[in-house]
C-alpha cells in the first residue's frame, strides 16, 4: 500500500531539511573571499591543463551495459524468490517448474557473462 511509504517520505523530507540547513549554515558562517587561483581546479599545484570533460575509456560503458542486463535479471529473480515457498506449499511440481525456468534464465545470462569474460570485456589492465 502506498500509505506505508508516507513515513519514509517524511524521513526523506527531514533529511533534505538537514542537508539544506548544513549547506546554508556553512555558507552563512564561512568567509567568502574567492580569487582566480583559489577557484582553479586542483591539479597538484600546476595550472589545470585543458578541461576534465574529456573522453574516457569505453570499458566503463561496457561495465554499465553488462550491469543493466544483470540488474534486470536480479529484478526478475525477486518475484520467484518471494513466492517460492507458496509454490512449494501448493505442490512440489509447481516449485520445480518455476525453478527450471529460473535456472534456464540464469544459464542464458551465465553464458553471456562467460562470453564477455572470454572476449576480454572485463579486463582492466
Amino acid at each position: 500500500m502506498l500509505t506505508d511509504f508516507i513515513p519514509l517520505f517524511i524521513m526523506m523530507a527531514l533529511a533534505l531539511g538537514l542537508a539544506l540547513t548544513l549547506l546554508n549554515l556553512g555558507k552563512f558562517l564561512g568567509p567568502k573571499r574567492p580569487n582566480r587561483i583559489k577557484t582553479m581546479a586542483y591539479e597538484s599545484g600546476m595550472d589545470p591543463v585543458g578541461t576534465a570533460r574529456e573522453r574516457y575509456s569505453v570499458k566503463f560503458y561496457l561495465v554499465a551495459m553488462i550491469f543493466i542486463v544483470f540488474d534486470v535479471e536480479v529484478v526478475f529473480m525477486y518475484p520467484w524468490a518471494v513466492s517460492f515457498q507458496e509454490f512449494l506449499a501448493a505442490s512440489p511440481g509447481a516449485a520445480l517448474g518455476v525453478t527450471v525456468v529460473i535456472v534456464f534464465f540464469v544459464l542464458i545470462l551465465g553464458i553471456g557473462l562467460l562470453y564477455d569474460i572470454k572476449k576480454g570485456g572485463l579486463e582492466f589492465d
Binding site: 508516507i6 513515513p7 549547506l23 556553512g26 591539479e43 566503463f60 561495465v63 512449494l88 557473462l113 572485463l122
Partner: protein, 344 residues
C-alpha cells in the same frame, strides 16, 4: 507502527539526530581505534580522552570557506552532497530497531534499501563530473563502476535471504530468523555464503577500505570530493560515516537476527505475560546496537588489515568470483528451502 503522522515525524526527527550523533561517535571511534592499532594514542586533546574531537571538527568545517571551482557546474556541485546526505539518512526509516519499533514497514522494505543505495551512485558520479577536475572525474568514474559491479552480487545475496524468509518486508525477514530456539535460526548460519558475499559487497558499496579506490589518496588526491571544501565536504564525510553505520545495521538485520536477542524464544513469553514488553524492547534495541557496534568495528579492523586492491583485481573479484558464486548460492539456497520444506 500505527501512529499518528506527527508522532512518526517526531520519531523520525529523533532518529536522524541519533544518526548524526552516531556518525560523530564513529569518527571518534575510527580515529581512536586506528590509533591503537598503529600503537599511537589517537586524538586525546579536546575533551576527556579526545571525545569532543568530532564536534570540534564540525565547528571548524562550518567556519571554513566554501570554495566553488570556477569551471564547475554550480547547481550540480551543490546537489551532489545534498543527495548523498538524503540517501544516507533515509535508509534507517525501514530498519526495525526493536519488535514493533520501525518508522516505515512497506511490503518491499528490502527493495527500498537496495533502491536507495543505488541512488547513492548518482551522488558520487555527479560530484565527480560537476567539479570539472581530472582527479574528481576519475574518482567518480571508478566509484560508479565499482558500485554498480558489486550491487549485482549484493542483490543476489539479498535474493537468497528473501528465499528463506518468503517476504520482502524487513520486519518479516527479521522475524523469520526467530525459528529455532537458539541463534541457529539466524541467516548467517542458514546462508553463510550469502552472508560473506553481502558483507564484502557492503564494504564495496560504502567505498570503505580495502575497496576505497574512489578516494585512493596516493593516486587521486581525494577522489570525487577533491574540489569540495567547507561544509560541502563535511556533508560527504557525514554521508560516508552514516552509510557505514547503516551498512552495519543492514548486515545485522538481514543476516545476524536484527533485534533478536540470542535464546530469546526461551524468555520472551515471560516478559510479555508480566507486562514487561517495553523492557524486552529496550533489551532488543541494545542487542541490535551491540551487533552494529561489532560490524562498525569490523570495518575499521579490515581497513588496517587488508591493503587496497588494484582496479583490475577489484573488477575480477566482483565479476568473475562474487557474481557466479552468488548466482550458484541462490540456487543452492532454493534447493535447501525445497528439501527442508518437503521433509519437515
Amino acid at each position: 507502527m500505527d501512529l499518528p503522522l506527527w508522532l512518526t515525524a517526531i520519531i523520525a526527527f529523533l532518529i536522524i539526530n541519533f544518526m548524526l550523533v552516531s556518525a560523530s561517535v564513529l569518527v571518534f571511534a575510527e580515529r581512536k581505534v586506528s590509533g591503537y592499532i598503529q600503537n599511537r594514542p589517537g586524538p586525546n586533546r579536546v575533551g576527556p580522552f579526545g571525545f569532543l574531537q568530532p564536534f570540534a571538527d564540525v565547528a571548524k568545517l562550518l567556519f571554513k570557506e566554501d570554495i566553488v571551482p570556477e569551471a564547475s557546474s554550480k547547481f550540480i556541485h551543490s546537489l551532489a552532497p545534498i543527495l548523498m546526505v538524503i540517501i544516507a539518512m533515509s535508509v534507517p526509516a525501514v530498519i526495525p530497531f526493536a519488535r514493533g519499533f520501525v518508522i516505515a514497514d512497506p511490503d518491499v522494505g528490502v527493495l527500498v534499501i537496495l533502491a536507495l543505495t543505488s541512488i547513492a551512485v548518482y551522488g558520487v558520479t555527479l560530484a565527480g563530473w560537476s567539479s570539472n577536475s581530472k582527479y574528481s572525474l576519475l574518482g567518480g568514474l571508478r566509484s560508479s563502476a565499482q558500485m554498480i559491479s558489486y550491487e549485482l552480487s549484493m542483490g543476489l545475496a539479498v535474493v537468497s535471504v528473501v528465499l528463506i524468509a518468503g517476504s520482502l518486508s524487513v520486519v518479516d525477514i527479521v522475524e523469520s530468523q526467530a525459528d529455532g530456539w537458539a541463534v541457529l535460526g539466524w541467516n548467517v548460519f542458514r546462508n553463510p555464503i550469502g552472508a560473506i558475499i553481502f558483507i564484502v559487497t557492503a564494504f564495496a558499496e560504502t567505498n570503505r577500505a580495502p575497496f576505497d579506490l574512489p578516494e585512493a589518496e596516493q593516486e587521486l588526491v581525494g577522489g570525487y570530493h577533491t574540489e569540495y571544501s567547507g561544509m560541502k565536504f563535511g556533508m560527504f564525510f557525514l554521508a560516508e560515516y552514516v552509510n557505514w553505520f547503516v551498512a552495519s545495521f543492514v548486515i545485522a538485520t538481514l543476516f545476524f537476527g536484527g533485534y533478536l536477542i540470542p535464546f530469546e524464544p526461551l524468555f520472551a513469553d515471560a516478559f510479555y505475560a508480566n507486562g514487561f514488553g517495553w523492557l524486552l524492547g529496550i533489551l532488543q534495541f541494545l542487542c541490535l546496537m551491540a551487533k552494529v557496534a561489532f560490524f562498525a568495528f569490523l570495518f575499521i579492523w579490515v581497513r588496517w588489515t587488508l591493503p587496497r586492491f588494484k582496479y583490475n583485481q577489484l573488477m575480477t573479484i566482483g565479476w568473475k568470483y562474487l557474481l557466479p558464486i552468488a548466482l550458484v548460492n541462490t540456487l543452492v539456497i532454493a534447493l535447501g528451502v525445497a528439501i527442508f520444506q518437503t521433509i519437515f
